[in-house]
């Protein structure tokens, strides 16, 4: 299927809001415009075939002569370049935002002989050459004489070869009709209108996209903030354990982090995911929520609402990612098409500053960052409070002289083994620790935020202590 069709279809069917669709890169419109550029160029004898031929013959000359390949722009028979034009210049106000500030205008330049104003390219038709010649004259090359441009085909075809300024042997040069060698070259602008229309349109659409992104960013930012307030409310441990959903939300956020919906921290595949993978991860996260029946375990009705909002926020991020992906693709395709139809090589020369911003700056990334720094930390994660030796909550916490924290049970074991070195920094601080090393503030904090984990660890510690005192059979007695 044609890309234009696929593109239109996914814009319509992927559930993007109407104002997004209206702001998307308009592939069809741009394609039509390319046709106009094509027609205009053809009318001047500069169709893609002619230009490609021109480029090819110059390249061949380079390889044939094996001269130091001189990549200077002057070597090219024509140049298509972009010139920035600051629209705000008129007001003398340069500090305006870039969205509508600097614009880039395309310009097609052809090489002509500086003295005669004659085009250097043989494969152009006589009409085109004559036209260029006139252009050159009107563009201030007033002292040149208009020569009779010969229609002698032998002469015409040899022009291409002689364009290369690297000198070849004499006999070859003699055969050529004269004067190209090391003659100064001047670039003459060929006026086109349809290409300005094309790039104007494209830049309008890109700045529209940038604006939409900025709006989305603001909107989602405030959504994260509101959600944060809600989560703070439903997880507040000071309401008593029967009246909050702290454990449920901890589980939800743990699952969310494990799903690595948008970004991966995994050693094997890291970095940002594309939208397809993110969608899959998000679906897996939702399924896992179902499996663990977390929705039925809420004590607070607002928790359900908060979870719905959390999911839809993630879907929103996903849609942003998809929308950006699809626009980036459309942009790449339309520039490719432009080049195919005109041979002007814009894929390389179109200023990347314009299209990189709305097509690569990631709103998704910014919002994900906000999620991980503002929303998720509302519920302290157990991983941040584990004892590095037994991997369960480090309760009761002993803070060694080196500031490393271990659970009291592991400290007892280390001391009994006469192991004086801190497991993390090898500082000789273990044997000197006693009950004064208990971190009282941390004890209170853990009791408040991890009541369940603290209770079960306390139970374990007591059993282990009793086992130390009464021997291995202690467990069995309890079970009977």
């Amino acid at each position: 299927m044609k890309f234009a069709h696929l593109y239109q279809e996914s814009l319509q069917k992927d559930g993007f809001p109407p104002d997004w669709v209206a702001s998307a890169i308009s592939y069809r419109q741009l394609k039509k415009c390319i046709k106009r550029v094509e027609t205009e160029l053809s009318s001047m004898g500069l169709d893609a075939d002619t230009l490609n031929l021109l480029l090819k013959s110059v390249e061949e000359q380079h390889t044939k002569h094996d001269a130091q390949v001189d990549e200077e722009e002057d070597e090219k028979p024509f140049r298509y370049q972009f010139r920035s034009q600051d629209l705000n210049n008129e007001n003398g106000d340069k500090e305006q935002g870039t969205s509508n500030g600097a614009r880039f205008l395309p310009k097609l330049l052809f090489a002509v002989d500086e003295e005669t104003g004659e085009p250097l390219d043989a494969s152009l038709t006589p009409e085109t050459k004559r036209e260029f010649h006139v252009l050159a004259l009107s563009q201030q090359l007033t002292d040149v004489r208009i020569l009779d441009i010969t229609d002698d085909p032998a002469r015409r075809s040899s022009f291409v070869g002689s364009f290369d300024s690297a000198t070849s042997d004499m006999s070859d040069a003699e055969k050529r009709p004269h004067r190209r060698h090391s003659r100064p070259v001047r670039m003459v602008e060929v006026p086109l209108t349809s290409d300005s229309e094309f790039f104007g349109m494209l830049q309008d659409q890109l700045s529209g996209l940038a604006k939409l992104q900025a709006e989305q960013n603001v909107k989602m930012e405030s959504e994260v903030k509101e959600l944060g307030q809600l989560v703070t409310k439903v997880t507040d441990p000071s309401q008593g354990k029967k009246k909050n959903d702290l454990a449920q939300w901890r589980k939800i956020f743990e699952l969310y982090l494990e799903s690595r919906v948008f970004f991966s921290t995994n050693e094997q595949d890291h970095g940002a995911h594309d939208s397809e993978k993110a969608e899959k991860n998000l679906r897996r996260f939702s399924e896992e929520l179902e499996n663990q029946k977390l929705l039925t375990k809420f004590k607070k009705p607002e928790s359900k609402e908060a979870l719905d909002r959390f999911i839809s926020l993630n879907l929103e991020i996903l849609q942003n990612l998809r929308f950006q992906d699809i626009n980036r693709l459309a942009m790449a395709k339309i520039l490719k098409k432009f080049d195919k139809r005109t041979a002007l090589g814009v894929k390389k020369t179109f200023p990347s500053t314009i299209h990189t911003s709305p097509l690569t700056t990631s709103v998704a990334k910014a919002i994900c960052y906000q999620l991980s720094t503002e929303l998720l930390p509302i519920v302290p994660a157990l991983d941040d409070y584990l004892c590095p030796v037994c991997f369960s909550i480090s309760y009761k916490p002993i803070r060694l002289l080196c500031n490393h924290i271990f659970c009291i049970r592991c400290l007892v074991i280390m001391q009994r083994a006469r192991e004086n070195h801190c497991p993390l920094c090898r500082g000789e601080v273990v044997m000197q620790a006693d009950s004064r090393n208990l971190d009282q503030d941390l004890i209170e904090y853990m009791k408040k935020w991890f009541p369940k984990e603290v209770r079960s660890k306390q139970h374990e510690n007591e059993r282990a202590a009793a086992r130390d005192e009464f021997g291995e059979n202690y467990d069995k007695c309890v079970l009977m």
Partner: protein
């Protein structure tokens, strides 16, 4: 005795987020006993080889280090004929905050950087010092002979 939480968690993580080039799978009937495979690091004489090891977690793990041994024959100055490994973190420098994954990474690194000045296999270390080129070639030969991937 029930398996300590620490061992359960380490095993889970080894399965969920394996280290590239390393696998460690516990025996079903003894969860303290692991079959380990380490891929020889690239740019080393062990490149292309897959080395089998056995790893056992003693009762007082992590207060004492895991016991590890190469099962695949390997020509290396710090690994002896019985597959025993000379590595400080497995002995005096062990810390209960180290884990199975960190130890296996250290062993993989040891394959990438043989240290004949701190030998276990004395004759190999001697070869290594007198003619390093030949020793590396022998290590390569042994790798293709004994450590070919199945």
């Amino acid at each position: 005795m029930a398996l300590p939480k620490r061992i359960i968690k380490e095993t889970e993580r080894l399965m969920a987020e394996p280290v590239p080039g390393i696998s460690a799978v516990p025996h079903e009937d003894n969860l303290r006993y692991f079959d380990v495979k380490i891929h020889g690091p690239s740019q080393s004489p062990y490149e292309g080889g897959v080395f089998k090891l056995e790893l056992f977690l003693p009762d007082d793990y992590p207060m004492t280090p895991p016991k590890i041994r190469f099962l695949t024959k390997i020509y290396h100055p710090n690994i002896d004929k019985l597959g025993r490994i000379c590595l400080d973190v497995l002995k005096s420098n062990w810390s209960p905050a180290l884990q199975i994954r960190t130890i296996l990474l250290s062993i993989q690194a040891l394959l990438g950087a043989p240290n004949p000045d701190d030998p276990l296999a004395n004759d190999v270390a001697q070869d290594w010092k007198t003619d390093e080129k030949a020793a590396i070639q022998t290590a390569r030969d042994w790798t293709s002979k004994y450590a070919a991937p199945e």
